[in-house]
């Protein structure tokens, strides 16, 4: 009933406190961007992301979803930078006016390895964390309940919105309207389709806010939560370790004089 990619399983990874996973994700991203060596990203994938994905049992879905996002990006990245990288001088392959430079490919490898980590690690978080738990965990740590409300509510609103959009589209097509022709014509057809959808959703807002107010959403009391988010000392310690590691990664290139 919700649009999220959450893959409902009972693994250890799924049961981790969402904040632990979030901090791990941020630490990984900081590390791969701070240390400009493509094989650091490679090690992180092999040593952390892949084992975590296997343990979670969501590895198959992770692979499928990530490939769909990554393949076009990586393809474009290697072609475009291999061919047109501004710093490219060493031509390794030439055909007519097309030449591929090794600098371009190395550059693409560096950027590409970081994108792969970014996508895989974020996807793993999304696949193994129920958005409701993520919101509860962040609210417990002082995030405004308005953020939690907006995010959870949008996730559940989108399917309802799609259903309405589809029914309007179907109704129009049933009346013989086709979505073919020039982009301009398509925009002209889209606009009247969108307006009943949009107006309906926005005028509903009045009722929704009434219902929320009636349940004390505007209260200034310190909020409590019905269901506690599980946590442990081990996780608390790991979070601090991850933060320290990320900071160390930022300092490493400076200390080693890589810059």
């Amino acid at each position: 009933m919700s649009t999220t990619l959450f893959d409902n399983r009972k693994s250890v990874i799924h049961r981790l406190n969402p904040v632990t996973k979030l901090i791990a994700l941020l630490a990984i991203i900081v590390i791969v961007f701070a240390i400009p060596l493509w094989w650091v990203a490679g090690i992180i994938i092999v040593v952390i992301v892949v084992p975590a994905a296997v343990i979670s049992g969501s590895g198959g879905r992770l692979l499928k979803l990530s490939l769909r996002i990554l393949l076009p990006i990586l393809l474009v990245l290697f072609i475009v930078q291999g061919l047109t990288f501004p710093g490219g001088t060493t031509v390794i392959w030439q055909w007519g006016i097309i030449d591929i430079t090794s600098e371009g490919l190395l550059f693409a490898l560096g950027v590409g390895s970081r994108i792969v980590v970014l996508v895989l690690a974020s996807m793993l978080l999304v696949l193994t964390t129920h958005p409701g738990d993520l919101m509860s965990a962040l609210s417990e740590r002082g995030m405004s309940p308005k953020f939690a409300y907006i995010i959870s509510s949008t996730l559940q609103l989108i399917p309802a919105f799609r259903v309405r959009a589809d029914s309007i589209l179907l109704a129009q097509q049933a009346r013989g309207l086709s979505l073919k022709g020039s982009p301009f014509r398509r925009i002209k057809i889209m606009l009247p389709l969108l307006s009943p959808l949009v107006l309906g959703m926005f005028t509903d807002v009045e009722e929704r806010s009434t219902a929320m107010e009636a349940r004390a959403f505007g209260s200034t009391a310190k909020r409590t939560a019905l269901i506690p988010v599980p946590d442990s000392t081990v996780q608390n310690v790991s979070r601090w370790v991850l933060i320290v590691l990320a900071l160390a990664a930022v300092a490493t290139p400076i200390v080693l004089g890589l810059l």
Binding site: V76, I115, T154, G218, L259
Partner: protein, 280 residues
């Protein structure tokens, strides 16, 4: 005045102002550092660091802005934001499927900014990308700042009365598109190496082949599409505003205070039809 305006202690108000100010400074400083401070993006090592600075600076700045802004929003506005985000995402996806060469993924953000002001636009903007990241692709997350900029610009455009005349809105949209192209370019360049999609990647490649740097190429690529896209979005928003019942519009203090839509609305007949008793 809504009773939910919690009249927070002055210290809290000051704190929120500081968040907004610091967030803005970080975003501007990040951009300036990446553009002015890094003349060469050839050395791979400093390039990677630039990627980190681009993500960190923009994300932290956007979060600070959103945290500072959200406390100002009354419940009526908070209840509207999810609808606006859903609008951004559903229309954005629909358009990409149909194959129109624009994005139209910020209609909700601009609409909220026009109805409820820049603070509401900021919150809608950043959360649009957070939810895009949760539901479709994490690639959207580093770009959150762009929607934040759109929210702020649209909010101030509304204050300046750009939505009062339907031919001013596309102008404001184009200016917003110009700024958002500039702001998003470092992300496209330093984080994604110019490769955010097939078509855009090819255009970036073409600009690079003409001898431009990567950052210059992603900036030029953005300038080709964003101003047009935002001009269309702003125009659509004017049309939606005209079609919304005037009683709904009048519920928003921002709309009333700055007379965002103007008394002489272009499509007044719709408004009067929906609420015949409202004087116009």
């Amino acid at each position: 005045m809504s009773s939910t305006a919690t009249t927070p202690a002055d210290s809290k108000k000051t704190r929120n102002r500081i968040f907004i100010a610091v967030g803005t400074i970080i975003i501007v400083a990040t951009y300036l550092y990446l553009v002015v401070g890094q003349p060469t993006d050839i050395a791979a090592s400093s390039f990677s660091q630039s990627g980190l600075i681009a993500i960190a600076g923009y994300v932290i700045g956007a979060i600070l802005l959103a945290v500072g802004a959200i406390h100002r929003l009354p419940t009526a506005t908070v209840a509207m934001v999810p609808v606006a985000i859903a609008l951004n995402i559903v229309v954005g996806q629909l358009v990409s499927v149909i194959g129109i060469p624009v994005y139209l993924d910020s209609i909700g953000t601009v609409l909220v900014s026009a109805l409820a002001g820049p603070a509401a636009g900021v919150v809608t903007g950043i959360l649009t990308n957070v939810i895009w990241g949760l539901t479709l692709s994490p690639i959207a997350l580093p770009y959150a700042v762009v929607q934040v900029v759109i929210g702020v610009m649209a909010g101030y455009a509304a204050r300046l009365g750009m939505f009062r005349l339907f031919y001013l809105a596309p102008v404001a949209g184009a200016v917003t598109g110009f700024v958002s192209a500039i702001v998003s370019a470092p992300i496209s360049a330093f984080v994604f190496g110019g490769a955010t999609g097939g078509g855009t990647g090819a255009i970036v490649g073409a600009f690079q082949a003409m001898g431009n740097s990567l950052l210059a190429s992603t900036t030029l690529q953005g300038l080709l599409s964003d101003p047009l896209d935002k001009a269309i979005v702003f125009t659509i928003v004017v049309l939606i505003l005209a079609a919304l019942p005037s009683r709904f519009r009048q519920r928003f203090p921002f709309m009333r205070q700055y007379n965002v839509f103007g008394r002489k609305a272009p499509v007044l007949k719709d408004a009067t039809a929906a609420a015949p008793t409202v004087e116009s």
